[in-house]
């Protein structure tokens, strides 16, 4: 039976974990190391770090965060955001990442997927697709946190990436991300029905039933979760940076009232899924 991975996703900006809605309006929620350690000890199957300011500065702080994490956490660590070249990938892997996520650079130069998968092994290369539904009902891939249109249809791009040697796909529904409205089953099914490599989905979980549904309705392999876990983690204030606690209180209150997110502790989610008959590592 397929064992579903539950992957906390930490969006990183400089030295901080941030969270937005539709990948926009980022707020600082705490320190990566604290969040990561908490999730590791609570049974996370893998961690996903995305450097959301993509790239041009603060590279070293991302490397430091990876190294610090890999020293104490003995589960797989996947890292993405702003990786453009083979050297970028190597530096992240050398710092202790197990897999890398490519998006913009892969769309602009699909051969990078081939080169990287030959160099580091297919199973090291994850391709992220940020999908936005168009008026004609079709899903297109976007880059730059959903800001830039690429002209590539999601399913075509998924198949092309697979063909070029990608080992895994990470699909984010930008329309749903951070809203808590549930996953976009239409988008996810379109992709999961045609690809052979593992699929991680992200974006939209508002409660534990959404996670259960997406696993049961579509053929996915893993879920990457941020809001649902982070809001729960933040309730325990020792995880928030002290000087930010005040601002975060407002954010949390507004987050709780403006969105439909009913946060959950990762261990409770895993128990719930297992009790629902889904194969989960406890």
């Amino acid at each position: 039976m397929k064992n579903i991975r539950i992957i906390p996703r930490l969006d990183i900006k400089g030295p901080n974990v941030v969270k937005g809605i539709h990948l926009e309006g980022l707020r600082v929620v705490g320190e990566p190391k604290e969040f990561a350690k908490f999730y590791y000890e609570s049974g996370a199957d893998e961690l996903l770090y995305m450097d959301v300011v993509a790239s041009l500065y603060n590279r070293n702080s991302l490397k430091d965060i990876i190294e610090e994490t890999a020293k104490e956490l003995f589960i797989p660590l996947t890292v993405g955001g702003g990786l453009r070249t083979i050297d970028d990938i190597r530096s992240v892997l050398n710092a202790g990442a197990d897999k890398v996520v490519l998006n913009t650079a892969a769309i602009k130069n699909p051969q990078l997927i081939k080169e990287a998968s030959e160099k580091f092994g297919s199973s090291t290369i994850v391709i992220a697709i940020e999908a936005i539904r168009q008026e004609n009902g079709k899903y297109f891939a976007f880059i730059d946190n959903g800001r830039e249109f690429t002209g590539k249809e999601v399913v075509d791009w998924a198949l092309e990436a697979e063909e070029l040697g990608a080992g895994e796909l990470l699909i984010t529904s930008v329309d749903n991300e951070g809203t808590g409205a549930g996953y976009n089953y239409e988008l996810i099914s379109e992709v999961s029905n045609v690809i052979k490599i593992p699929l991680i989905v992200h974006g939209g979980a508002g409660n534990i039933n959404h996670v259960k549904d997406v696993i049961e309705i579509t053929k996915i392999d893993a879920v990457a979760i941020s809001s649902l876990f982070h809001y729960e983690t933040l309730k325990n204030l020792k995880f928030a940076k002290k000087e930010m606690i005040e601002g975060n209180q407002d954010f949390l209150r507004s987050g709780a009232s403006n969105t439909k997110i009913k946060s959950v502790f990762i261990g409770d989610l895993k128990n719930f899924l297992r009790d629902s008959g889904i194969d989960i590592r406890i």
Binding site: D45, K71, S123, I197
Partner: protein, 214 residues
């Protein structure tokens, strides 16, 4: 008497940092090296690795490490291969053509498509999967729970010639395959103990005990 350590063989394939950290975490002093003398004199070695078989063998050849590793295997000192590092110990691989391996353990590396229906089972297998402990005598799996989850990430699997060396089996697509083995001083795991949380660390701790003859 000071405790014995391990040399992590660096041949440019994969995440060595995590292997070193995990060894240190269980109290096994670990150092990365691609130096022939250092490897020859090591009290134990780990051959890690992620990537393609053919490329990995070429790297070992370029670094003149093939003979060093074969000699090491004959030295009776503990030698652990992880993932691709384990596959390299086999006689040959059918990954993108035919490649000769180190031939330290008789057997083949085969594509998952030989074993499972790839329309129903994803390749690569990237997931936590259970191990069924077959041999209670094996030191590497001592105190490891039957059905413990380990982290797997691979598209190829091994088929050793001698089934008696198999220490754990794993099921994928309702077929079972060898997920770890022990042949004398040679150990191999298809999964990544350094990425398999507490159960994986327990296994590395067992390796430490083997190294120190505890």
């Amino acid at each position: 008497m000071s405790k014995k350590g391990v040399i992590i063989v660096d041949y440019g394939m994969g995440n060595l940092f995590s292997v070193v950290q995990a060894c240190k975490h269980v109290g096994l002093d670990a150092k990365i090296s691609s130096d022939k003398e250092e490897i020859r004199n090591a009290e134990s070695i780990i051959l890690p690795g992620v990537g393609a078989f053919g490329g990995a063998m070429r790297q070992l050849e370029q670094l003149n490490l093939v003979e060093v590793l074969i000699d090491y295997a004959n030295s009776n000192k503990p030698f652990l291969g992880i993932c691709l590092g384990m596959q390299l110990l086999m006689t040959s691989s059918e990954e993108f053509g035919f490649h000769k391996g180190l031939d330290i353990v008789e057997g083949k590396v085969l594509p998952f498509s030989n074993l499972v229906d790839t329309t129903k089972n994803k390749v690569p297998q990237i997931q936590w999967n259970k191990i069924e402990v077959c041999s209670r005598e094996a030191k590497l799996t001592e105190n490891i729970e039957n059905g413990a989850y380990m982290y797997f990430l691979h598209s190829f699997y091994i088929e050793p010639e001698d089934n008696n060396i198999i220490t754990t089996l794993t099921e994928y697509g309702s077929k079972t395959y060898c997920s770890s083995f022990q042949k004398g001083n040679i150990f191999g795991t298809q999964f990544h103990p350094e990425k398999s949380s507490l159960q994986g660390l327990n296994m590395l701790s067992n390796f430490k005990k083997i190294v120190n003859n505890e």
